[in-house]
């Protein structure tokens, strides 16, 4: 099976499959494609690997009349394509395939499935969960005499306990320079800050789909954001942006210079291959106003282009990859967290993650996730967040400043796109 970095020629009748992946992930994708090819030798699949900006890459393909038949869809950005009529509403095909519909309904995690339900249409089926949790270095915890953190979402730990742990694990050398950080974040800082807001008991928005307002002006949500910002600026247990310029947060954890790292399963392969790193995983902390430990839904799915000339073949591929067999292949690969209950709880998934003690953090993750807002305007909101979170995360302004600046700007975008 060949992997094409770019280009989308129409010189053969192969089904085109567009996706974004790092080299290890691409390998897992190809395993699913290979498994599909064995079961459907009559359908040829040509893979198209995305460049750094998948949405831009995809838009240009589709606008040029060469939209790939099967497209990877991201929870935050698919709505823009669905709104523009690029993606096919899968409900029609699902209606004609009652057996698969029933199977999917019984085995799916509702919140993940509904992530791709937009304006009454079903524009993709989820295929992997990539929500956030914490990796922790077992050796550093043991050396500092700190009790290991909880191993299940049902057993939360508080912001205070998390902070105490991070403080106990932050070490400085004689010059006062930090030699080991308590906590590092390997995800996008502004999104992580929002996730701390969610863990303080307030969702990003109500409703989640097509909201007209985001909770950047909610005091409790803001409190969670402030706690996240204080980790670096006040408590000095996390590095600032300047401090991660020379060594990425991912490398800090891999090299044993950080005790806890926030990220998703996409970091697993890197940490798994890091020499001498003995790690396990734990849940995110819960704020004083929070009710339970929460991750973010952070899922990707598979969609079919509305303009596809091979809709039936595309349907077979999507069904395979998001159905029990494809999900089992994903589970066994150890490169993603599948989204069907049967695959998450399978022996293959457990075997692929045998070095993880707290496997319940992964298997329970999808069911303990809260979604981020789904709106066609997300690219604009993302860029507004990037701009407005900057001073808060640097400690130049309090998180309460978001209530007047960012909140109004976001509302304006959501009301008049």
């Amino acid at each position: 099976m060949s992997l094409w970095p770019t280009g989308c020629s129409s010189d053969d009748d192969a089904l085109t499959f567009f996706f974004a992946a790092n080299p290890e992930e691409a390998d897992a994708r190809l395993r699913v494609v290979d498994a599909f090819a064995r079961r459907h030798p009559d359908i040829k699949v040509r893979t198209l690997l995305s460049g750094p900006d998948a949405l831009q890459h995809m838009s240009i393909y589709c606008a040029g009349g060469k939209c790939p038949d099967v497209l990877m869809a991201w929870d935050l950005t698919y709505a823009g394509l669905a709104d523009r009529g690029v993606l096919l509403d899968l409900n029609t095909l699902l209606g004609q395939d009652k057996a698969f519909a029933a199977e999917l309904k019984a085995d799916s995690i509702r919140s993940l499935y509904e992530t791709f339900t937009f304006d009454g249409g079903q524009y993709a089926f989820p295929e992997q969960w990539s929500g956030n949790y914490l990796y922790y270095n077992k050796k550093l915890f043991a050396e500092a005499g700190v009790r290991p953190p909880p191993g299940r979402w049902e057993k939360p730990w508080s912001f205070g306990e998390f902070l105490d742990t991070a403080k106990a694990l932050t070490k400085r050398d004689r010059s006062g320079r930090v030699s080991q950080w308590g906590y590092v974040d390997t995800w996008a800082a502004s999104y992580s800050a929002g996730l701390f807001g969610v863990n303080n008991g307030v969702p990003w928005s109500t409703p989640r789909m097509n909201p007209t307002h985001l909770n950047f002006d909610n005091d409790v949500f803001i409190e969670g954001i402030q706690f996240y910002a204080d980790l670096a600026n006040t408590h000095k247990v996390a590095p600032t942006a300047s401090e991660t310029q020379s060594m990425s947060t991912m490398d800090l954890f891999s090299a044993g210079h950080a005790a806890m790292a926030q990220g998703g399963h996409w970091r697993y392969q890197t940490f798994d291959r890091a020499k001498g790193l003995d790690f396990d995983i734990t849940v995110l902390p819960t704020g004083p106003k929070g009710h339970a430990a929460r991750s973010n839904i952070g899922t990707t799915g598979l969609a079919i282009a509305a303009s596809s000339r091979r809709k039936q073949q595309a349907w077979e591929f999507v069904k395979f990859a998001t159905g029990p067999i494809g999900q089992e292949v994903i589970a066994e690969s150890g490169l993603f967290v599948p989204v069907l209950r049967s695959a998450i709880e399978s022996a293959g998934f457990a075997e692929a993650h045998r070095r993880i003690g707290n496997l319940a953090v992964l298997t329970g993750g999808p069911a303990h996730s809260e979604g981020m807002p789904v709106t066609p305007e997300w690219p604009k909101i993302g860029s507004l967040m990037d701009r407005n979170f900057g001073p808060v995360l640097r400690g130049a302004r309090p998180a309460t400043s978001l209530a007047s600046g960012l909140s109004h700007a976001v509302d304006e975008v959501l009301h008049s796109p």
Binding site: L55, S59, R84, E243, Q245, S383, G390, P391
Partner: protein, 313 residues
């Protein structure tokens, strides 16, 4: 009769020949003309047309008249920020570029041993791509372990968050831009300096003028046309800045809005928000600003040259 017939035949032959030459000329120019039409005239016309439309690549374009221009000037607070940043970046790049290039070209114009080696060194950055250059400078600007902060540390200056702090980000960007622009400007100015007759310097020396006086009173006035060209080209380049900003401070022109210049704004609206009509309107506004600046600059240069010619006379 025979002479007249001969003359008429010669005229006809010449006409035929010149027609053939004209046709051949047109044939030679045609491929280039076609390329200009396809790759320049059509995109220009299309973007002008699109600036009056609302178009997101997928849905049919919708005519909105001057709405894109109106919201750019009245409803988009980021336009004024981008314009201000572009002006700061342009001034912060062009003025130092011209001054440094003048000095460097003046030094390289000297007839000393091994000058070709130094000329090669100075021109080397011209051969490096902007993206590669920006990546290298990212390392240089690293707050804790960057070359620049290490060197500043030797003289007792604490680490400066070059690309992380909004107060420093634009200054950092200007530094890289100057580093990139100086070689090109130096090439132009050096070529112009080499065209200044030696006799003028000899006369000045006989009159007791020092090196600096010769440079200010002879070299600079006589290469004014080249300086003018460098200024115009540098302004155009700086105003259209994109690649350097994108690599150094990210696709949003951060931190916050510190390096949010017009080029980044255009790219963001076109390729992140898929607002191609709005981005086209912005492109034409940028074009109009540059056109006005260039015309004013050329007029000023022409007037100055005329004044000088009068004073020489």
């Amino acid at each position: 009769m025979t002479t007249i017939d001969g003359l008429a035949a010669a005229v006809t032959r010449r006409r035929k020949f010149s027609k053939r030459r004209a046709r051949a000329g047109r044939m030679f120019v045609a491929p280039n003309l076609a390329a200009v039409a396809v790759f320049m005239v059509f995109p220009l016309g299309f973007s002008l047309y699109m600036s009056f439309q609302n178009w997101d690549l997928f849905r049919p374009a919708k005519f909105v008249g001057l709405a894109n221009y109106r919201s750019l000037f009245t409803g988009d607070p980021l336009f004024s920020i981008a314009l201000r940043n572009s002006v700061v970046y342009t001034v912060g790049t062009v003025v130092p570029t011209v001054l440094i290039s003048l000095a460097v070209a003046g030094v390289l114009n000297r007839k000393i041993k091994g000058i070709n080696f130094f000329r090669t060194i100075v021109f080397l950055p011209l051969a490096v791509s902007s993206v590669v250059m920006a990546v290298v400078w990212q390392f240089v600007f690293n707050t804790n372990n960057g070359l620049l902060n290490i060197m500043l540390g030797w003289i007792g200056i604490g680490p400066i968050p070059w690309l992380v702090d909004p107060k420093w980000a634009m200054a950092s960007l200007c530094m890289v831009s100057i580093w990139r622009s100086v070689p090109f400007a130096t090439v132009i100015l050096l070529a112009a300096m080499q065209g200044v007759p030696d006799t003028l310097y000899e006369a000045a020396r006989l009159d007791g003028a020092g090196e600096l006086r010769q440079f200010v009173s002879i070299t600079v006035p006589l290469i004014r046309a080249a300086v003018s060209f460098v200024v115009v080209i540098s302004i155009i380049h700086a105003f259209q800045a994109f690649d350097l900003v994108y690599v150094l401070t990210g696709r949003n022109g951060g931190p916050e809005t510190a390096t949010y210049v017009l080029g980044i704004m255009l790219f963001q609206h076109a390729f992140a928000f898929l607002e191609f009509g709005y981005a086209s309107a912005l492109a034409w506004v940028m074009f109009a600003i540059l056109l006005v600046l260039t015309v004013v600059q050329l007029r000023l240069a022409r007037r100055r040259t005329a004044q000088e010619e009068r004073s020489w006379a």
